[in-house]
Amino acid sequence: MLTLVLFNLTNGIILGLFYVLMALGVSLILNLSNVINFAHGNFLALGGYFAFSLAPYLGYWGAFIVAPILVGVIGVIVEQTMIKRVYPRPHVYSLLLTFGLAFIIQDMCRTIWGVNGLPLSIPNALNSPLSNQFFFLTGYRIFLVAVVIVAVAALFAFLGFTRVGTRIRAGTFDLDTVSALGINIGLLRALNFGLGIGLAGLAGVLAGGQIGLNPNMGDDLVLPSFIAIIIGGIGSLTGTLVGGLIIGIASAVTSIWWSAGSEVIIYIMMVIILVARPRGIMGEEGMMT
């Protein structure tokens, strides 16, 4: 029983970390640009596939670094050519735009890399289980946890201590004032969009090593990452971090007793939060609510 609980808890933490990476990206974009990015899961898939195609040339580690950056660059291009044109318009347009992009990217992945799943092979060093009793603690999972922790810490350090990061945070509160202070908010939004998409790309590379690649691999992560943001509190990245971990763990732990409930529990938690604390766990009063 203890092993089972630990097994599910580990799964929950891993799942939660994927939600965190995804939700932080969605949240960054939502906070600064007021765009809900439906295509986020497809950028994740793109990250995985890029790593798959680059690995023969750059090796796993090269692909691991380059793929997310490449996805981020594509994010910036998409933002500059399409997304930025709907910023001044009502939300319905940005939703429809990213919705359409999701279809297009998914179909492109399907056409280029095929409908069937592909394996993203990882270095042998990461592949072995660390102990026989706790077979689920593979080297790769430890590696995954470490990478996410480093990435999240780097993101928070960037936002907290660099000039650009400070501007992004300021823009979350009052973009007009930031613009009035002479900061190029177009550039800021583009950078921020690329950063968010790059996180999705990183999640894709990590997910590819865990579950393999397929064109819909990100779909199941998108909507839960929205829920993570709602639970954590819109406008707060720390909230998103907390929200993502909570729903990941809750859904894995629930599946011990009620396997069909692993998805439903996420939404039950969202409703409870909505009734009891509409601004979310860490959300500020009045922030976009």
Partner: protein
Amino acid sequence: MSTTTAPGAMAAKPAAGGWLHLVVIWAVLISAPAWMGYIGGYDALASQVLIFGLAAMGLNLLLGFTGVMSFGHAAYFGLGAYGAGFVLRYWVHSTPLAILCGILLGTVAGVTFGALMMRRTGIYFAMLTIAFAQICYYIAYSWNSVTGGYDGLRGFSRAPLHLGSYVIDIRGNGTLFYYFVLFVFAICTGLMGLLLRSPLGRTMIALRENSQRARFLGIPVEQHVWIAFILSTFFTSVAGALYALLNNFADPTALYYVISGNIVIMAVLGGMLSFWGPLLGAAVFVVLENEISSMTVNWMSFIGVIFVAVVLFFPRGLLGFLRRRSA
């Protein structure tokens, strides 16, 4: 709330243009089964256009006329379908009761979810609508014993209509069923027209134009958003119930967020600032989707391109585009 266009450009006249275009619209709809065949259509496709048209017009009460964004109307569409399916599958063999139950299920969900969301605005509201739709999807997907899970609710068929001693057999006859759908569609659009001319309808439009000013005038904004939301889910669930009758099944894809997106794009594609726009949008979208999916395996890209093109090049929709041309 949204401020889409310059004031005046979108004065909502439910029957703008007088009687002529109403005559044209209804003539086209009534005569559809006669000419559908010549342009490669069929009765079921025509019924589908009406059904999605009704769903999109229902959504548009909220999106176009109240200025509130819902990206989760698949919930009420799908629940309408499941409600109708439950009656026919488990209870009685009656088409009117099936529709009533579909409406009931969809609208009760609308009342409940609406109450939880009505105080939220903008992008937060939109996110919540998506989330609530996903709850319904997962329930339908996981509750195998009742909903049939992934395969959906099957093994029922629409029942003949009994008008006194006269029986209309809509079961095997696609054309008759089309006229039945058209009949329900006519009642619903009539109700929507009346609604938009009523003080309630004018209040909804006032919220779209300037919700802050409406609040200053003493209008309880949240309650009106809630009412508009409920009315909108009502009409969308009628469409869902008809959809179950058309297909003789109800499955989780009717609740999936892709349907939500499709309903929204229909409204925007046709022109969300006009009464009939969503119907036109539904006609174009349903026919295109049908054509494209039979022509190429890359149909997803084409659908995606439609979304992107509408947003970037026709944000006012086809009717808005035509009107501006002629103006």
